[in-house]
């Protein structure tokens, strides 16, 4: 690993160093050798990530190729593909995978549609004071407890809940949304929306005013400017937001459990319910979102969205 400081080569020890004690000798040594400083700084965090995070992902991938003894429920370390043939060969599992991916894609599209006009208003129309106010208004629901938000929707959708009470007042009959895929879909759209708004806003806010003026000078009306200048330049932000909305939906099992009841099983639920008694199957199921996200991240990288995450 070759290391250079961007400011230039390492300079000599600072002037005025008197009799060097052991501490200042270490200090001078580190000063003269940038690679030593870089190594010292990088070793603990990198060790943490490699020994814990990357190692755990690697072990997970290996476990996916092992099986469980159905009688003793011990894990047998014999390589085979039976978990994968089981997952892909069972119609119920195939349906769960398709439902999860469909839901993640749908949530991403809806959130983008809701977020883009909102972010546009924040970035291009709102005055600085309003802009900060709106930003805080997006941040508060983003950080407010996840379980609190899911619970709130449980109380809204439940049979004697707020929604049916309101619908009753207007005269539209009660809707039994609780424990349906629709309810799960709505809750996902709600909970992940701020994750889309913020990157889209950040991207739109950076578009130079001169480029928009140039479009207007060339006769572009508002919609044409939005379509040909603003949206293409905001695309990395939209893609960055979509990474979050897509990935968070793909890996959630708590909202489907609480809002969907037993009727809305997603990939996360299969992983969650197998982790105690059939870890290899859970591991195999976990490779599905990993593979999907790996493709997604590669595509996002090609679109330049990584600087926005």
């Amino acid at each position: 690993m070759s290391v250079t400081t961007p400011a230039g080569a390492a300079t000599a020890a600072p002037a005025g160093a008197g009799r060097p004690g052991p501490w200042s000798r270490v200090s001078a040594l580190l000063w003269r050798r940038p690679w030593a400083r870089a190594t010292l700084l990088l070793t603990p965090p990198l060790a943490w990530f490699l020994l814990i995070y990357i190692a755990s992902l690697a072990v997970l991938l290996i476990t996916a190729f092992w099986t469980i003894n159905p009688y003793t429920t011990n894990i047998e370390r014999a390589w085979n593909l039976s978990n994968f043939t089981n997952l892909l060969g069972t119609p119920a599992y195939r349906q769960i995978i398709l439902r999860t991916v469909g839901m993640a894609a749908g949530v991403t599209v809806i959130d983008a549609i809701v977020a883009i006009p909102f972010a546009y208003y924040m970035a291009r129309i709102a005055r600085p004071r309003t802009r900060t106010f709106l930003f805080v208004c997006v941040l508060l629901p983003l950080w407010a407890s996840y379980l609190a938000k899911v619970f709130a929707w449980l109380l809204i959708f439940t049979h004697d809940g707020v929604l049916n009470w309101t619908l009753g007042k207007i005269g539209i009959g009660p809707l039994n949304l609780i424990y349906t895929n629709t309810a799960v879909f709505i809750v996902f759209c709600y909970i992940w929306l701020p994750y889309m708004v913020i990157p889209v806003y950040a991207a739109m806010e950076r578009i130079p005013a001169s480029q928009i003026e140039a479009s207007q000078d060339l006769g572009g009306r508002t919609l044409r400017t939005v379509r040909s200048v603003i949206l293409p330049l905001a695309l990395p932000g939209i893609v960055a937001g979509s990474i979050f909305t897509f990935s968070l939906t793909l890996g959630d099992y708590i909202t489907p459990t609480l809002i969907g009841g037993g009727n809305s099983t997603l990939i996360g639920n299969v992983i969650d319910s197998n982790v105690v008694y059939n870890l290899p199957l859970a591991a195999a199921m976990a490779t599905v979102p990993i593979a999907i996200m790996a493709c997604y991240l590669l595509a996002a990288r090609a679109l330049g969205a990584f600087r926005e995450i």
């Binding site: 600072p14 000063w31 400083r37 603990p44 546009y120 129309i125 930003f135 009470w165 995450i309």
Partner: protein
């Protein structure tokens, strides 16, 4: 300039989205004051009773204390590791730097259930019993990036000439870091630590897989919701949790500017706009 009609339409859209964002949160807080044991709308009165019940519940107390303890330890470790990696990536150019920043984002970009099951699996094979230690390990893994994002954004905005001036005036390396650079980045460090605490305090998806028999407060809430038990008490607890996660975030926003608190994007430029 947008036509007036479009501006009005956008303004209506913004108001509708804000209403949608806040209605559920306000609602859950209102529910906490409802007297009924069965949760029906509209509420039939006003009471502080459920807060008293939650306050006296030993299980809630223990879960709360565990969450605070874990949050503090996680914030501390994430602060050290996140600062180290920010300094290294900011001050040195080397092969693989981009790979490291990608690695840091990975726990946020990959679904939480993956991190959870992967760690659970690792602890199982490494014979590490699930407990407070494993909860902390899981949380630190995705909190490092929060500290990193905050600090690196600040370092990039800090002019290099400050450190160079300090060196020209005869300061040693550590003196420059301590007396010149640290005051420049202190607020970013504090806000990073506060956000790491808030993130850890509220985390449930990974924690389910790493906690074993030690329920943090979110795990206690999830357990009650799953079984549909003691829901009015859960309402009161959840209201307190909302306030407790919001307070560190508001503090961080106040200290380091709203842009630092974004959780996803790298510090969008609202903080300059936000300063009078």
């Amino acid at each position: 300039m947008e036509p007036a009609g479009l501006r009005v339409a956008l303004r209506i859209w913004v108001v509708l989205v804000l209403l949608a964002l806040f209605t559920p949160i306000v609602l859950i807080m209102v529910y906490a004051f409802g007297p009924s044991v069965v949760q029906v709308w509209p509420l039939r009165g006003f009471t502080w009773h459920w807060f008293a019940v939650a306050w006296q519940d030993q299980a809630v107390r223990q879960a709360f204390l565990l969450s605070v303890k874990v949050g503090l330890v996680v914030a501390g470790i994430a602060l050290v590791l996140g600062s180290a990696v920010s300094y290294a990536l900011h001050n040195f150019r080397f092969f693989g730097a981009e790979g490291i920043s990608l690695l840091l984002v990975l726990p946020l970009a990959l679904p939480g259930v993956i991190t959870g099951v992967a760690l659970n699996n690792l602890f199982y094979f490494a014979n590490i019993p699930l407990g407070v230690l494993t909860i902390v390990i899981g949380h630190v893994t995705f909190c490092i990036v929060i500290v990193y994002n905050n600090l690196i954004a600040r370092l990039r905005r800090t002019p290099r000439s400050l450190g160079e001036a300090s060196a020209d005036l005869g300061a040693r390396g550590w003196q420059t870091q301590l007396y010149v650079m640290l005051p420049q980045v202190a607020t970013a460090l504090v806000s990073g630590a506060l956000l790491a605490f808030a993130l850890s305090f509220d985390e449930v998806i990974v924690t389910v897989f790493t906690a074993g028999a030690n329920p943090t407060l979110p795990l206690w809430i999830f357990g009650q919701l799953r079984q549909g038990q003691q829901l009015p008490e859960v309402n009161a607890v959840v209201t307190v949790v909302i306030l407790l996660t919001i307070i560190p975030v508001l503090l961080a926003a106040r200290i380091a500017g709203a842009g630092a608190v974004s959780r996803t994007a790298r510090a969008p430029a609202v903080e300059e706009a936000g300063r009078p």
